[in-house]
């Protein structure tokens, strides 16, 4: 068991269990952070501190890795993460207009989360579905060949969920 933290015991034991799974594996930090983020949704300062403590590495190293990679985030995200693919194929086929349309309907800018914590609008790197450009993902759902006029209904369908 690792030392004290402000997290509740349930969260602590979840982190401990994840770290235990990777203990001893060379270069375990990134796989651990993937697993921890999958569990908590994001990597808060407290969570990062706990990971550092359990792996017996400096907290600054964990923070350095978290801030380096786009995939890791230290902020809570909305229930639905709208990811607009900004790969070249999507861009050439009008992804910038799709972004403006989402910003209009959600009332937030790229990278922000709505006040009700329902939506986060983010841009993603090429997801490799270039044949379907422009592509938008909402959590694990993929919407290909999206056009500006479909955005409003798409947003509405998730609002109702």
């Amino acid at each position: 068991m690792c030392q004290s933290s402000v997290l509740n015991t349930d969260s602590l034991s979840k982190i401990d269990a994840i770290v235990e799974k990777y203990r001893g594996a060379p270069g375990a930090l990134i796989p651990v952070l993937h697993a921890v983020q999958a569990e908590f949704g994001y990597l808060s300062q407290d969570v990062q501190a706990r990971v550092a403590e359990c792996l017996n590495i400096p907290a600054v190293k964990v923070s350095g890795v978290v801030s380096f990679y786009h995939f890791f985030t230290d902020k809570a995200k909305g229930r639905f993460e709208v990811g607009i693919c900004m790969g070249t194929a999507c861009y050439v086929r009008g992804a910038a207009e799709i972004v403006r349309e989402f910003e209009k309907h959600l009332g937030i800018k790229m990278g922000e989360t709505t006040k009700d914590q329902k939506f986060t609008l983010s841009s993603t790197r090429c997801i490799g579905a270039c044949g379907l450009a422009p592509v938008v993902t909402v959590n694990d759902d993929v919407y290909g060949k999206l056009t500006v006029d479909k955005v409003k209904d798409l947003v509405q369908s998730y609002r109702e969920k």
Binding site: I30, R100, C126, A129, G131, G144
Partner: protein
Amino acid sequence: MIRSHILVCAGAGCVSSKSRLVKEELLTRLKLQDLTEEIRVIETGCIGTCDLGPVLVLYPEGVFYQKVGVEDVAEIVEEHLVRGRVVQRLLYKEPLSEEILEKMADLEFFRRQYRIALHNTGAIDPDNIEEYIARDGYFALGKVLSEMTPETVISEIKQSGLRGRGGGGFPTGLKWEFAARSTSSTKFVVCNADEGDPGAFMDRSILEGDPHTIIESMAIAGYAIGADQGYVYCRAEYPLAIERFVSALEKAREMGFLGENVLGSTFSFELELRVGAGAFVCGEETALLSSIEGNRGEPRPRPPFPAVKGLWDSPTIINNVETYANIPSIILKGAEWFNKIGTEKSKGTKVFAMAGKINNTGLVEVPMGTTLRELVYEIGGGIPGNKKFKAAQTGGPSGGCLTEANLDTAMDYDTLLSLGSMMGSGGLIVMDENTCMVDIARFFLDFTKDESCGKCSPCRIGTTRMLQILERIVNGEGIPEDIDALEKLASFIKDTSLCGLGQSAPNPVLSTLRNFRDEYEAHIYDKRCPAGSCQALIHFTINAATCIGCGICAKHCPSSAIVGERKKPFSILDDQCVKCGVCVQECPFQAIERR
């Protein structure tokens, strides 16, 4: 007895187009007709025609159905499988000749391909190791372990002329030889599947569609250089590839292709998948290694090269997914066979991911030396809406653009370099007359600026400065000195950056400056975007002669920039217009012009 096989494409493109629902419906309908004993449904990797998804191929005839919806399945089962009549309305129509084609093999898209790296992708069920073995899978590993020494393996790869498919084009056999020479007791084999080049998706498709090829090749590489541990480093953006590869690893282990004493030999090999975390720079080999080690993905200076001092300071070879996918065929068919394909200095084939303004987006594999014209017009079916070809970007954010004048150049590593572009991983983004080349250069710089790891200042600060200038130009605020400044900065960044990311980041700007300087000048001097794409330089006006004064445009305008009296021509207040283009869409009389 099985009388028919239905291949359902389950590449990420088709899955996104709901191909799995089509498969479920097929299974349900076949059960209803009591045909499950006679007809097998197989989920395959990417067939290649992503734009036409979901696609089905029905064997033994080889009939190709495209854009199949769940609602079409009943008809396919009842008409095709019960009555033996092809469902005409789901067949493919060649975009240029408008000819309707029944069989997959007749499509121009497939007819001109030569598949080595992709020979199983789209043809087998990636989750079924037996299908891989049935197509000579793991035979090359068997041959290597029973008949060849590490030296003969390396010599075969060297003689084949295979060069790295990830971008640089370094001779693969030579790389293996450097690592093999080292007497170190610990060595590593790494597969670079961090396919960060936006618009390239060949590595993803191979991992999804034929994961065992990579496992087999990496084991061969391990044997050749004397390594017993390998790592595949895959992007986190490819969940399906990760899932299929992990499942393939387990099956290979169960059957003795991985682990202690592979196939009963004295050779042992283990393989692990590491998932990236969204950093483009990790495609650079030294950055990739530091990411596997659990650190920030920052590159380190070379030499020493990874083949001498790599992962945890041990000799390491790093090859790209597509490079590995060529290895089994070279071992089985011989270097001489491979050597005959391609051009003098670029042997074999290349997989291109065609996307952007092209009719047949998707994945194709063609011999090195195929011309851009063949790719875009014959295989790719031309440009949608019969628009004019303007340019094709190869090499992604590190590459450059090819123009109309280059359409007939035989494409290989060296000709692309001489044209100021590069092969890169094989992404090919086609652009038409509506694409602004200055904006594309800005797009790539925005990407590289964002992805610069920040370790060296030429790249970190230089790309930021270049981006500022490009943003100024596309916003109509460019000044005459800007072109000069861009060229100076570009050569400075190229010469002084630490790694490939920075050294190649200015390429898209240099290449568009060389080929489309007039577009830069139009933005700077005339405050005009010739392609009509840069928002700040577009103006909307109402044609007073065709406007009937219905007011629909004014009603829809989000910024109240349209004013007028009913039944008289309306007008647009330029300073209030946000250039969203809603008015153009809404006007029933096409009275609004965009310039």
